[in-house]
Symmetry: C2
Subunit: 353 residues, 2 copies
């Protein structure tokens, strides 16, 4: 039985607090994770609890850390995440970028020494909710993508998010990995025993494959575009942009560093930018144009009348509306795992069976 | 016989000046166009002369215009392109963004009322040459791309460019349309009578096609990703980002506006951003990390030892090196067309037969 959003969120909060995360940080982190589950981004919510717990037990995260500002200007901040999970740090970094954009027109925060921070889109949406344009990138923890022409993993899923305010509560909100698909979609095909569509993965020799078990045998995920003929160099190039903004600018560990995944604390980098459209024109006119643009796209004649054309952010909002009414579904295997973790660390169990 | 770069560039300059473009503007515009030809971006150099000439004769461009600054802050400028070709305006806009980034750390120029400005990468590279990160987007003139799930063209090729300084003369330089491929690559297949790889185009009903004549029959180009299963919603989302930055922010015409292609002067918008890495860390350390990152990618074990892994900007630099030595090839049909234009407008002919 899916739990209501508030209880689902509270469950995550109780577990994080039981690990020793300070209460305010646990509440803030749980909000980011529950946002993902509410919006149907199931790879970035409660499903992260088992991996986060392993890392916590291994002391490969500073669970009680507070991020600190290292360097600052009227338009920028460099923030040290202190080796903690990145959610509290990410919210602070985007809050600072938003504050600077409101005062100076643009604000950029670069973060180093952080860890996984959940869904990029959460932070980009913060800017849009404040009436600003938001852009967010992060370096990745895992190395699983081969560059175009390559037969060796050198990159991660390397996501970026972009948001712009439109109608209240309906920002344009793009949140995408620069790979063809997320790892979770490959896992789903494997679980169902189905072949993959062409272009999703490569063998370890770099040859095309449709086997959903390929990445478990040393194969690679592909950059957006999938194949050389599908212009995978573009997805690969975007991954380069993401890493330059998130890691080179902040001084975080490079994903191409052989020690990137081996150090006790991963040094992940993030990039947060907010731009005030009022620098250029009446912000209300800007928002009206975003609305006109998005509505024109939605009004496109659809291939299938039952599958209307959507705009970035629409599918996630539809999920959130449904799940706010019906509760947040969690698969039985995951639920069992999370319950065992709650019991082990002494957190109350709120989600039923 | 391919002409040397300097003569090729001078030929373009002479033709533009013969149309009534002021001499300094003709020289500046010709430099941007010849940059594209030198770097192998043949779609954005001398091949534009016939289309630009038609537009000039139809008085659908203000050939002698000077761009003007409409609004300014320490980190931003809004620029009116005056209905001229966008190259002079684009260089001014990026120069202003660079100047502001050097003084304040970040600079953003939004341009409205402009026209086609050539290759985005030229302007992003200006920032990298100045030691800064550069990002550029532009709205498009032509409407030829259907949104994911759509059977109606609503978007253009909607390109973006991103550059970061590395080794001197070797910036990371990504310049990409957010479509699967450029229109020119479809034309090339049509010229050779070859079928297209799957995912490049759709029929006018939105069905997959491999017919290179499809777009001439009302079919559409696809967003990067090619198909729904290949995650074309990501290329489509990036096109949305490009249009919001280039058109909504500046107040240019929206590509979804039914009048976008019909007004006498198209009101194209551009976006230029420069970021000083010195806001966050020692710029030399930033550049060293970009070099380390790019070199690690280049060192990836290749699928085919004769096809080494490259980094964004490498293919274009290799073209430029070769063409600087061997001259700039122009196909016989295009050469004949350009020669006829030179004769008609009274420009000297420098390129031989």
């Amino acid at each position: 039985m899916p739990a209501p959003y508030a209880r689902h969120r509270k469950q995550i909060e109780e577990i994080l607090a039981a690990w020793g995360m300070p209460p305010a940080n646990a509440a803030s982190t749980a909000e980011v994770m529950a946002y993902a589950d509410l919006h149907g981004i199931d790879s970035h919510g409660i499903s992260l609890v088992p991996g986060y717990y392993t890392r916590t037990k291994q002391k490969r995260v500073n669970i009680a850390v507070t991020p600190s500002i290292v360097r600052e200007s009227p338009v920028s901040a460099l923030i040290d995440g202190g080796g903690g999970f990145g959610h509290v740090t990410g919210r602070l970094a985007m809050d600072i970028a938003i504050g600077k954009a409101k005062a100076a027109g643009v604000g950029i925060s670069a973060v180093r020494n952080s860890l996984h921070f959940g869904a990029c889109g959460f932070y980009a949406k913060m800017a849009a909710d404040a009436g600003l344009i938001g852009m967010v990138t992060t370096s990745a923890g895992g190395v699983q993508v081969a560059p175009t022409r390559g037969a060796e993993a050198k990159l991660g899923t390397d996501p970026l998010a972009f948001a712009a305010p439109g109608r209240d509560g309906e920002p344009f909100l793009l949140d995408m990995a620069t790979t063809t698909v997320a790892a979770g979609r490959i896992r789903n095909k494997a679980n169902e025993g189905l072949p993959l569509p062409p272009g999703w993965v490569l063998t370890k020799a770099g040859m095309p494959s449709t086997d959903p078990e390929e990445t478990g045998r040393g194969g690679f995920m592909t950059s957006l575009g999938g194949t050389a003929e599908g212009s995978s160099y573009k997805g690969y190039g975007l991954a380069g942009m993401v890493n330059i903004l998130a890691a080179c600018l902040s001084g975080a560990s490079l994903i191409t560093d052989p020690l990137h995944t081996k150090r006790p604390l991963q040094n992940i980098g993030h990039f947060f930018m907010a731009i005030d459209p009022g620098l250029f024109r009446d912000p209300a006119e800007f928002r009206a144009d975003v609305v006109t643009f998005c509505d024109a796209l939605r009004a496109t004649k659809p291939i299938d009348p039952d599958q209307p054309v959507l705009v970035a952010g629409d599918p996630e909002r539809a999920n959130a509306k449904r799940r706010m009414q019906q509760g947040i579904p969690v698969g039985p295997n995951l639920l069992t795992k999370v319950r065992a973790i709650a019991e082990e660390c002494g957190a109350p169990w709120l989600l039923g069976n």
